[in-house]
């Protein structure tokens, strides 16, 4: 039985439940398209935007991390009320700054996805 490996077929034959192209995966799928050889150009503007995306994504990641750490400390009762207030104000300010940066680069929330997460376990 010397046959070629079979062609992939439509791909969604692997779908068992739910949607094949769900809205919540739009950005992941767009990233996949870009990565798998569908890069049409290497325009400088695109690269610059890509870099901004990367930086802001990292900042966003750190912000979330710090926020969770702070919440844990608060839940643990380890922080006095003034400290909680201060932390909250800091995070609100940080959120505001992030928004300003995004506006400056013309990025939306969706642009900060950058296909993170699913392969993160190689860390």
């Amino acid at each position: 039985m010397s046959e070629r490996p079979r062609d992939p077929g439509p791909g969604h034959e692997k779908l068992l439940a739910g949607t094949a192209v769900p809205k919540f995966l739009e950005d992941e799928l767009a990233g996949l398209d870009r990565a798998l050889g569908r890069r049409v150009n290497a325009d400088p503007e695109g690269l610059e935007k890509g870099l901004a995306q990367l930086v802001l994504t990292l900042v966003e990641l750190l912000r979330q991390l710090m926020e969770r750490q702070a919440l844990r400390r608060i839940d643990g009762g380890a922080l006095p009320p003034e400290k909680v207030e201060q932390l909250g104000e800091t995070f609100m300010l940080l959120e505001q700054r992030m928004q300003e940066l995004k506006d400056a680069f013309g990025l939306e929330d969706e642009d900060l996805n950058l296909d993170l997460g699913p392969l993160g376990r190689l860390i």
Partner: protein, 228 residues
């Protein structure tokens, strides 16, 4: 063998029957035994290139092996210099591989991705009420949101975990910065795949989330025995 090139590995098995056919780039598949396990490989002058088509071809070979029995799928891109090197590497981890083959025998991997409802964070600068919040109120809100989402994730994961031999909750993110994204991998007995899929559908409806479940896959996520 010395100048023959690289051996590209697809998977590790303990039983193989018949002619396996062709692998990547039309190179014939061969079985290289070492002790109680064997590796399935094809020979190449240079390591095969990556790419969508190649990914599906690699997958096709692994699925063929899965039809024959238990298989430990290799990550894409694993090459060794020659048969001697391969046998040495197999023998070095023979016990581990034998054990893993038992773990996965008769089961397949299913992937579940979901976006679960989470409280919308009120954006700073969005409305006046939000802008008036104190820092303490903000933190309280964030804490509530976080806990609520974690709870919903467990409501999705727990019933699926019960239908699986093994399970992994993996990271996921959505674009919006809140933690509504879920991703899990489940090692499920072949006979339970249908029940699992139906369970995913009903859970998604019950929890008000969007979901995608794919499979059956060879057990990629359950075979590296602790390296992840």
């Amino acid at each position: 063998m010395s100048d023959a090139g690289r051996l590209y590995i697809y998977g590790i098995v303990d039983q193989v029957s018949g002619d396996l056919g062709l692998g990547l780039e039309g190179s014939p598949l061969r079985v290289i035994k070492a002790g109680r396990v064997a590796a399935v490989a094809s020979e190449h002058v240079q390591a095969p290139e990556s790419g969508e088509e190649r990914f599906w071809q690699h997958e096709a070979v692994v699925e063929r092996l899965l039809e024959e029995g238990a298989v430990l799928p290799m990550r894409f891109g694993v090459t060794v210099a020659d048969e001697r090197a391969l046998k040495r590497l197999l023998r070095a981890r023979e016990e581990e591989f034998v054990g893993l083959l038992e773990v996965v025998r008769g089961a397949v991997e299913l992937s579940v991705r979901a976006e679960l409802p989470a409280p919308e964070p009120s954006r700073v600068g969005g409305d006046d009420a939000a802008a008036q919040r104190s820092g303490t109120e903000y933190m309280r809100e964030r804490g509530r949101a976080l806990r609520s989402v974690e709870q919903t994730k467990e409501q999705l994961h727990e019933p699926l975990k019960d239908l699986a031999r093994r399970s992994l909750v993996l990271e996921a993110r959505t674009a919006h910065g809140f933690e509504g994204a879920f991703r899990g991998a489940y090692l499920v007995d072949v006979e339970r795949v249908d029940a699992f899929a139906r369970c995913v559908e009903s859970l998604a409806e019950k929890l008000g989330g969007e979901v995608s479940c794919t499979g059956p896959w060879p057990p990629y996520s359950f075979v590296d025995g602790g390296a992840r």
